[in-house]
Subunit: 514 residues, 2 copies
């Protein structure tokens, strides 16, 4: 029998001369019976308070349980009459944004959610800068302290927003990439980015919140999702868990796109994964007007194929001030379909008309005129931006092709294609197919997962059986180093065209025939 | 394959692009291979320092390992070049005396040994007084602090005596009765002495030294021997381990006599145990001149059967000031053999002559005259003292008879009879047989174990395989509640005679036929 929640209400048989089992042993025995666990551990700290609790509660107690790699253990035990809530906090520890969700561990309900910038941005927006900074004396502790104190602040705040207290958070699940979880735990990140790219651990497992400096219940525990290596993090494991890829009989693919593209292909019996630089063009922040999604950021673009009118949709319908990844993909697709760029992605001046100009000799396209932009300047995409985008999409497609190829499949043969991450949430799959970034297949096969890292972290808080599943995912994934050989480079070159040199791969894409 | 010591020297394969296992995982893998352990845990604290240690030591490290009920774990890891010693401390936590032994965990050698009074004596000499005192507000913490601070002081001192440092003690093993280990850990002792006699735990297992307040290495761990119940403590489990009773094919008996008589009967496939009040007469401190063994205390008595000269031997040959348990048993045996007491244990005035007198109407025997005693007073044993001793020895024999009876044996059929504890160390078995306290059998079958509690605690520090053995001992012992019914009382009455009403049980005992 399995537990349906980490909180167990349990009535113990009372001691008698016929049954004089010790208090702790009595409790552990009952827990073993109810959970089917082979072994359960009770911390010394709890042994000290147990006799009073058992006798004050007439042997009816509420236990918060958790499980680490060594087995089940009791996090806390209180009389069953204790009316205090038992909370959990799921943390999606992004390099840029952190999202937290407060969960009622008894009912499994979501209580509140909030997101905030990763304060380590102050050191550097990217992982490399932060890891180099950690090399300074005291650097690791300082950079860890940034994220820990911010999470403490935000945990307090999210609890207060629903009239609860962070003291009542017993379990925290943290899902992030390998660098972010290393920095969260204060583990030396130095060797992650140096050949042969060695993490301190692939299985941080469960640590005491107090040891990390997270201020929740004094007995609170933190589970940090395991990683597969320096470039395949716990956020992916969490995403796989949420997608259910590891539970399905049918083979599926899961793609998470950020600075890196991380790709998993598999089913309940096998999984292969790889990761590769898909290029930062998709993340915003690199193209001249690129930025993270936010109010006033262009997230959808339409170009009328007849009169070439450009229509930009902005988030919250605010005056436009930049463009995010999904907007950029939309734009490229629309430019291609209207013939404003050719199959090499080059701007076609004749088609672009007065939106075309040369910026320091480089061709550029005015998306929004100064008069209409929030900034009072033209919002422009240059040929360099477009080239960068095409390299990113080509890398993405080549990675997909390579991975599917290793098991004798073509990308378009995959029955289900999960797109993880916020990027996947906003992307228009038709546009992504149009530029040849993802395989041309019926849209019903695409499933966007939203913030799968947060969702996976939440799942574990709601369902104890997921702990073993996470272990199995980590164990079952075969990580494939991307071999960037001649074959890869040939595929990559072919994929740099829109949608591809081999247009038969993208039968649904038909460029404006002008 | 098994470890021959808790300290493991290990060379790790160095990371490469072909083997980019994480640091912690690399170490755990190597340890699993060398120990055959299914699972090994690395504490978060060690994860933080591991990357530097591995690279500074060229991947050759020295690990201190330990094992708790959940499995193996790393206590500490240092470069193999670290020349600091790795020490262990075995503690025999007696109610009255505490004995500690410092052990080199690498060589397994004994480095030093010391004993001191249990400072809780200041609260009360006996367990009951201490447990009642613990009921006062703050009582448990105060009584725990007494023993903890004394052990800290003594650990410092024993290390200094051999030019070592307590910081280098990584492992401590503590063997004591259930009440003493509860008070050592600060666990509520209240329910130990109240029906139905419930310990907080029968398996304190391994706790962090820092959590208990023991000042050794910051990562130091303490193993507290498990108990079977309130009246069958870890000192007995430790004693069984040392005796090897649990490993032998042939059935043996182990007896530990203090205020309680604890008895185990069994072999490698089964063990039954029971404990009963054997009476404090054997411990010293109850008879008028009774006391703990020490300089000037009478530990051997001979009475010439012809001229009735009484010869008292004292410890360190100092002038006599009292008598200890073994002296008392000698005295009773000699009084009986010389006809000065009869088979009921009553003083025979005609035989005792001028050593006999009435003290407030109660018959008494002058063992040492005021002129010869250190105190300047007569050292006297009264009829009440003798009655008390006979009740104790009768209880002892009845317990042995009852326990052996449950498996269809007579006490004298047992091939090996271990006598544990300091009592056993000093006792003259011939005298104990003479008064009918222990079965009449060839002396070669008796084996005194000395301080078996300390020896068992030491064994665990020297041999990791003993950890599982301890678990098996605890699991395999069937504890039998002594059923004090009519049958028991009949046996007890018969055993109150010297040596027994059924003299056929003690063929070797022949009273002086005068």
């Amino acid at each position: 029998m399995c537990l349906s929640s980490w909180v167990l209400i349990i009535s113990l048989p009372k001691p008698s001369l016929q049954d004089n089992t010790a208090d702790v042993d009595r409790l552990l025995q009952a827990i073993r019976q109810q959970t089917g666990a082979g072994h359960v551990t009770c911390h010394y700290r709890l042994m000290k308070k147990l006799p009073d609790i058992l006798r004050a509660s007439d042997y009816r107690v509420r236990c918060v349980l958790f499980k680490n790699a060594a087995g089940w253990f009791i996090v806390d035990v209180e009389p069953v009459t204790d009316a205090r809530p038992v909370l959990g906090l799921a943390v999606d520890l992004g390099t840029t944004r952190v999202v937290i969700r407060l969960i009622d561990l008894i009912s499994g309900g979501n209580l509140a959610e909030n997101s905030f910038d990763n304060p380590q941005i102050a050191i550097g927006p990217d992982i490399l800068t932060r890891i180099h900074d950690a090399d300074q004396p005291g650097g690791i502790a300082r950079i860890q302290e940034l994220i820990i104190s911010e999470i403490n602040l935000q945990a307090e705040r999210i609890c207060r927003s629903v009239n609860l207290r962070a003291d009542d958070i017993y379990l925290v699940t943290v899902s992030g990439n390998t660098a972010m979880t290393h920095l969260f735990l204060g583990l030396e990140p130095r060797w992650l980015i140096r050949e042969p790219y060695i993490p301190v651990t692939n299985q941080p497992d469960v640590v005491c919140a107090a040891d990390v400096g997270i201020r929740i219940h004094p007995s609170g525990q933190i589970f940090v999702f395991p990683n597969i290596g320096s470039y395949f993090g716990g956020d992916l494991i969490s995403g796989i868990l949420f997608s259910g890829l590891n539970r399905r009989e049918e083979t599926a693919m899961l793609v998470d796109v950020g600075t890196n593209a991380e790709v998993v292909l598999g089913n309940h019996s096998w999984m292969i994964a790889c990761a590769g630089a898909a290029g930062p063009a998709l993340e915003g922040g690199v193209t001249q007007m690129g930025m993270m999604a936010g109010p006033g950021v262009i997230d959808r673009v339409t170009i009328d194929p007849l009169d070439f009118t450009v229509d930009c949709h902005t988030i919250e319908d605010m005056p436009p001030r930049g463009i995010c990844g999904s907007g950029l993909i939309d734009l490229a697709a629309q430019l291609f379909l209207s013939g404003m760029i050719d199959i090499r992605g080059k701007l076609v001046p004749g088609r672009c008309k007065d939106r075309f100009y040369l910026e320091n000799g480089i061709p550029a396209f005015i998306l929004v005129s100064a008069a209409q932009s929030e900034t009072g300047c033209n919002l422009v995409i240059t040929q360099a931006d477009l080239d960068s985008l095409l390299r990113s999409k080509a890398a993405m497609f080549t990675i997909l092709e390579t991975l599917t190829g290793t098991v004798g499949l073509a990308p378009q043969d995959i029955p289900t294609f999960y797109i993880a991450g916020t990027f996947g949430y906003f992307i228009n799959p038709v546009s992504a197919i149009t530029i040849g970034m993802i395989p041309d297949m019926p849209l019903t096969r695409y499933q966007t997962l939203g913030n799968s890292s947060l969702e996976g972290a939440s799942m574990l808080l709601k369902d104890p059986t997921k702990m073993d599943e996470i272990g199995m995912i980590q164990k079952n994934i075969t990580y494939m180093e991307l071999n960037v050989n001649m074959d890869f480079m040939n595929r990559f070159s072919a994929a740099k065209f829109i949608p591809h040199t081999h247009t038969g791969l993208f039968p649904s894409v038909r460029q404006w025939e002008g």
